[in-house]
Symmetry: C2
Subunit: 191 residues, 2 copies
Amino acid sequence: MNIKTAIKGRRTVRRFSQKTVSADKIKQLIDAGRVAACGGNMQRLRYVVVQDDKELLGNIFDTTAWGGFVQPKRNPVPGETAPTAFLVLTCKPDDATGAAIDAGAAIANIQLMAYALGLGCCWIGAYKHERVDSLLELDGMQSVFLVALGYPAESPVMEDIGIDDPAPYYLDADDVLHVPKYSVEAITEWR
Amino acid sequence: MNIKTAIKGRRTVRRFSQKTVSADKIKQLIDAGRVAACGGNMQRLRYVVVQDDKELLGNIFDTTAWGGFVQPKRNPVPGETAPTAFLVLTCKPDDATGAAIDAGAAIANIQLMAYALGLGCCWIGAYKHERVDSLLELDGMQSVFLVALGYPAESPVMEDIGIDDPAPYYLDADDVLHVPKYSVEAITEWR
């Protein structure tokens, strides 16, 4: 897939079909994340793939919050529309702020690769961090973000808006999620 | 350009030719950054393009630090290898931490688009933030990161390493920058 097509077409997915993602595809996602730019090439991030252990998968899912701006809320349903895997990005506790910034870049790469592979994903910061760290029995590490992963069962659409337009995402009458994004002109100043 | 080619081939560039980047290409970069995922679709980031005002460009360049791990240091030289433009990502001061994480994702998109357009760039956090904010006379905003931009005058290469190998980047005998990256196997655990 062309890079521009991926960047413009990729959207966050919060509803998933229940087909399992292959280990090979998951490796391709992590391969995309690991080569993202990071501060000083320190490579602080590690990855835990949660997929085979269904109890662990369910317990992690139970710690997550989804799409706060969508009314009515449409939390994914386990066994129906929930993610079939989580990537858990972890780091050492002593530089968690830097690692979170690095994670932004790594997850952007992961999202684009997921889209190119026909997958969908959702970058999640709203989850019970201590509970997830405890469930995973992380040794000297802590989780930074989750990436919920699976085959997409929805196709959100983006729309350009001006700087004074309402920016929250919303569901239309056909239950399609719309994601307004400020136009280039709205957010750019030239010197 | 194919998405996987862009993700794997893109490297940070710290030496630039002195050809000017067109406004159209710069708009394509910001267009890539603005559609990156961000927390709650809050879209906290704004962009200042510094290119035409050469005095401002030079003053911002003077606040930057480059490639701390490369010995001997090879800071770009104004008029020879320095970036010909800066993108300055800005945000409101009240949520700078969240904006910095969002910026990681936006800059990853920008880096990939830059590579696809034949450009090179360097994500810079090591600069005098207050000085740049003052130079730009930002009104109620602060800078988050700089992206140095231009046509590349070097071609760094990536190499895969194991978890116990040395990770700092280095120059070889031909003055080529090597960027070691941990392999997928080295940083992934499966559950």
